[in-house]
């Protein structure tokens, strides 16, 4: 359904280009849940925004293709793109739950995308909005409330309802549960899983939290320094992480069912994407790195269905 090939998205700044997404590919089938993992600055949000071409003015897709049902979004005309946005692919932005319009009722805000993208009457749109409110687990009577009367968890449900307003096939969620308490996090996770099943929805979940990906996604793509370092189904990745960054990252999350010890950290800090190193971008922090890794980015090695970009595997 979604094929991202050799995607390159750079930001233009005074000093040059920030290579936020540098040659990334992944693939999503119908009904699949893909997790795009990585820490701050690795390019995951940029990659997701590139899919719907909702990039800020100083960013541009420099190369590659984003094939949605065979059509390349990168080369699409604006008119065609508008038909895809929200109706086929929608997105829940990071922190969006805090950006709700404080002077508009919830139901009106959910109805807004419907009115914008489809030719329906206001009454119909509001009707559908009310149904969506219930659909995401909010009591129908609260639909006419204002955002400030809702808790964080409820507002996030509203954002999900908005994303579902035009019945898309693919929903991108950028850090949907990061700012929420663990119980609310779980509630939202369950909601998304439930919606996926009921609607045969495909989802791309962007997060730095590997635990959340472990629990909710089918596949995972790990990004580091703008590059894709590992890509496989979730079970294989966690049981047998091939890339040193992946195993380092997994070990960085303490496991309450494991032993009681300080999780391991990865020394150093992420690369400067303005002037990234020539060879493997993780090499400066990698315990297995050697002379080999300073050469231009390592060849992609595919291990069955388990892709990894590393000299050492």
């Amino acid at each position: 359904m979604l094929d991202v090939n050799n995607l390159r998205t750079f930001y233009r700044v005074d000093e040059g280009y920030v290579k936020a997404v540098d040659d990334v590919d992944f693939h999503l089938d119908e009904g699949e849940a893909l997790g795009l993992a990585g820490e701050s600055g690795c390019g995951k949000t940029t990659a997701a925004l590139s899919i719907v071409r909702l990039l800020p003015s100083n960013a541009s897709i420099m190369g590659g293709e984003v094939l949605y049902k065979g059509q390349d979004i990168v080369k699409m005309s604006d008119r065609k793109l508008r038909r895809i946005r929200w109706k086929e692919i929608s997105i829940v932005f990071q922190g969006a739950m805090n950006a709700l319009n404080p002077v508009k009722r919830i139901v009106d805000q959910i109805a807004e995308p419907i009115l914008l993208h489809e030719e329906v009457s206001k009454e119909d749109a509001l009707q559908r909005a009310r149904k969506l409110v219930e659909f995401v687990g909010i009591d129908k009577v609260r639909a006419k409330d204002y955002p400030h009367e809702f808790s964080g968890g409820m507002r996030q449900r509203v954002m999900i309802a908005m994303a579902l307003a035009c019945s898309p096939r693919l929903v991108i969620l950028d850090e949907p549960t990061t700012a929420l308490d663990v119980m609310t996090k779980t509630q939202i996770q369950e909601l998304v899983k439930d919606l996926q099943k009921r609607l045969t929805l495909s989802t791309i979940l962007i997060t730095h939290d590997l635990s959340v990906i472990a629990e909710t996604c089918d596949k995972v793509a790990i990004m580091y320094g703008g590059k894709l370092v590992e890509y496989a189904d979730v079970v294989s990745t966690f049981e047998n992480p091939l890339h040193p960054y992946t195993s380092g990252l997994i070990r960085a999350f303490p496991n309450i069912y494991g032993s009681r010890e300080l999780p391991l950290s990865i020394p150093g800090s992420p690369p400067d994407l303005l002037h990234p190193p020539d060879g493997c971008r993780f090499a400066p922090r990698c315990s297995m790195a050697d002379k080999e890794c300073s050469k231009p980015p390592p060849a992609k090695v595919v291990n069955g269905n388990h892709y990894v970009a590393c000299w050492k595997r």
Binding site: Y11, P56, N58
Partner: protein, 298 residues
């Protein structure tokens, strides 16, 4: 996460780089520097002594000797215009200095202290904000002049403009202080044991300063206008040559009726240009200091 106020004193070169990209900022700077140059070089570039009277050459339009003509007394207007620059700038800057000091102090205290003191000061600021500044200035100057104090009137004018113009600054500073004092590093300072005065002086003021600077430049524009207005009304120092005084004498000697445009237009245009210059600089700095005023920066 990002800072809205650029650390000013260290990043002067970085600041200049951004500032020089702003067309109106550079234009404003050129205008202001132009007038500063004239004021500084007045004794050297003025063809005549501005107070020199030549009774044989009165009411002359611009000619080869008097480039801007002469007034009813025979003064060379070009020289008067040049020397007038000094007064505008001096009064403008000094009055602004008073405004800024008073305004920042009151704004700082009012913003930092809540409850009684803060609220009281806020009312004071509001009070001064809504009072029409022109009648207030007129009344104050008149009182001073009636008291026949030995203080030179020019200082009275500076003082009056200063203490009627502080409220704008105070309000801006106050609202900025209100938000800065909630920031975590202020809480840290408190947790470490810093007292109120130290927090205000070392933490809040430096983080509020860039806004003070932008506001100060705009206040100078207002102060120059205020000075011109007072002079024009005849409330300023009649003995001092200033653009406002030129206009005052022009109109009180029926320059319009006599068609002596050269007595009115040059001071008017000069005032406009100088005030515009300061305003452009002020807005430029404001835009740079407050990224929200700029276009969307991803």
């Amino acid at each position: 996460m990002s800072e809205t106020l650029i650390p000013f004193r260290r990043n002067l070169s970085q600041f200049w780089r951004v500032y020089s990209g702003s067309k109106k900022g550079v234009l404003g700077l050129i205008l202001v520097l132009f007038f500063f140059a004239i004021a500084a070089l007045a004794p050297y570039i003025s063809p005549f002594d501005p107070s020199k009277i030549d009774p044989s050459r009165t009411w002359l339009p611009p000619n080869s000797v008097n480039w801007l003509g002469t007034d009813w007394f025979g003064h060379d207007l070009f020289s008067q215009m040049i020397y007038g620059t000094q007064v505008s700038l001096v009064v403008g800057m000094f009055a602004t200095l008073i405004s800024i000091i008073v305004g920042t102090a009151i704004g700082l205290f009012s913003g930092y202290y809540g409850k009684m003191l803060g609220e009281f000061l806020e009312r004071v600021i509001d009070f001064f904000l809504v009072i029409p500044y022109l009648p207030l200035m007129i009344v104050l100057v008149a009182i001073f002049e009636a008291m026949e104090t030995p203080i030179p009137i020019l200082w009275v004018v500076i003082f009056v403009i200063g203490i009627t113009g502080w409220s704008g600054t105070a309000r801006i500073i106050r609202s900025q202080v209100l938000s800065v004092k909630e920031r975590q590093f202020v809480e840290r300072a408190r947790a470490v044991g810093a007292g109120d005065f130290r927090i205000m002086a070392k933490h809040i003021l430096p983080n509020v300063f860039p806004l003070v600077f932008a506001n100060a430049v705009l206040t100078v524009a207002g102060a120059v206008l205020a000075e011109v207005t007072l002079d024009f009304l005849g409330l300023g120092d009649v003995m001092t040559i200033s653009w406002g005084m030129l206009l005052h004498f022009a109109l009180s000697n029926s320059a319009v009726y006599r068609g002596a445009w050269w007595w009115i237009v040059p001071p008017g245009v000069a005032i406009i240009l100088l005030v515009m210059g300061f305003t452009m600089i002020g807005y430029s700095i404001e835009e740079i200091s407050n990224p929200r005023l700029r276009g969307r920066k991803a």
